[in-house]
Amino acid sequence: MPSIIYGGQSYQCKEHESVLDCMTAHDVTIPSSCRAGLCQTCLMQAVTGRVPEVAQVGLKQTLAAQNYFLACACYPEEDIEVKLPSLGVGKYSAVVVDINPLNADIVCLELSVGTKLNYKAGQFINLHKDTITARSYSLASVPEIDEHLHLHIRKLPNGHVSPWVHHALKVGDSVDISDANGNCFYIADNPDQNLLLIGTGSGLAPLYGIIRDALIQGHRGAIKLYHGSKTAESLYMSEELKSLAVRYPNFAYTPCVSGHSVPRGFASGRAHDVAIKENQDLAGWRIFLCGHPEMVATGKKLAFFAGASMRDIYADPFISTAKI
């Protein structure tokens, strides 16, 4: 059993126990959110000892080189001494510029960051509520178009962070956010490739950023967006998307409603089902899937079966866990 030294104390790490689980089991609080190696909230640094490679998947090279790792994905193979990132590593102070309702349970949170944050539309940042609680939110803004960062935040009634954004946060407040991470963004390596984007709920946020990024970079291939929800009312930004489709003939927007009452102008069915039914041969396409984790997993499989290469499938499941 390897031991983990943290804050001068030594802890025995059981087999199949991650650094995060081991700390939690000993009542030591390490910031975490997804517990799935995605959000990077549980970033730690190894002072001595080697961390397995899988604990560094997705980290920026500069961080990996300094032995940073993800506590939830780190199953130590030897004794290690670890610490939380030095204050300020990958953290920025931001000011709330605006909070706008997009529909009954999603708001657009606009943040201004003093130091310029390097990001690509569609990546995500972690929004810190306090020193131990943070959640990931995707960037709907495009650095070249939007002055501020735009996040679409859906309220989960009993959540720790999203209701706080909806009800407690005020214009002028200061909040801490992380560096932008994630690889769900547009790359202008093939302007003629067709793009299929499928999102549910606030999963539109990254897609809205990616689409506008692709359009201003002169993407020529088809860009097809399928945005889905249970009811027509819970879709949002329809007007913006429709006018974008008028302005750019290669962009098509299909709002999808999976519930019973489907008004005229909406496709009936779940977004990924509608998208695959209307686009049966996806060989050579690039696919973006964001939102509900089950939709993302099913959508991935369907797109792959329809001919898309695994390499060309980009996905951000909006995983949420109940703890902390």
């Binding site: 792959f304 695994m310 390499r311």
Partner: protein
């Protein structure tokens, strides 16, 4: 004389084969249940490891690793018929990529040589 791995086309061939092979496996009613519930991205990189191995490419897996790596599947009932199905999909993938028959036979022989370990016999 160049190795089988080089003759088949090295990493490029693995990359070309992985989508085709993995799609076949996931659609194969005989074996797809073994691959359900595993994250597709992680699984795809394991498929690459499998193909690299079968193509005689560089890898660090021992027979013991193969035994351990598939032990949980053996518990779920993995047997010779499933192994045969994987061999079939491997062969069909290489045919689709127009790999010459003699090279397919060599790759199949490498995969076949792991049967006892994979099935925990």
């Amino acid at each position: 004389m160049s190795s089988l791995y080089e003759k088949i086309g090295g990493e490029g061939a693995v990359n070309a084969a992985v989508d085709i092979f993995y799609r076949k496996v996931l659609k194969d009613d005989r074996i797809k249940r073994f691959f359900d519930g595993v994250d597709m991205d992680k699984q795809a990189s394991k498929q690459k490891a499998f193909l690299t191995m079968a193509f005689g490419g560089p890898h660090n897996y021992t027979g013991e690793d193969m035994r351990k790596g598939h032990a949980h599947l053996v518990k779920q009932g993995l047997n010779d018929s499933h192994f045969d199905a994987v061999m079939e999909n491997l062969g069909a993938t290489l045919m689709e990529l127009n790999v010459p028959g003699e090279l397919i036979a060599q790759a199949a022989a490498i995969a076949e040589s792991t049967r006892k370990d994979v099935l925990g016999k």
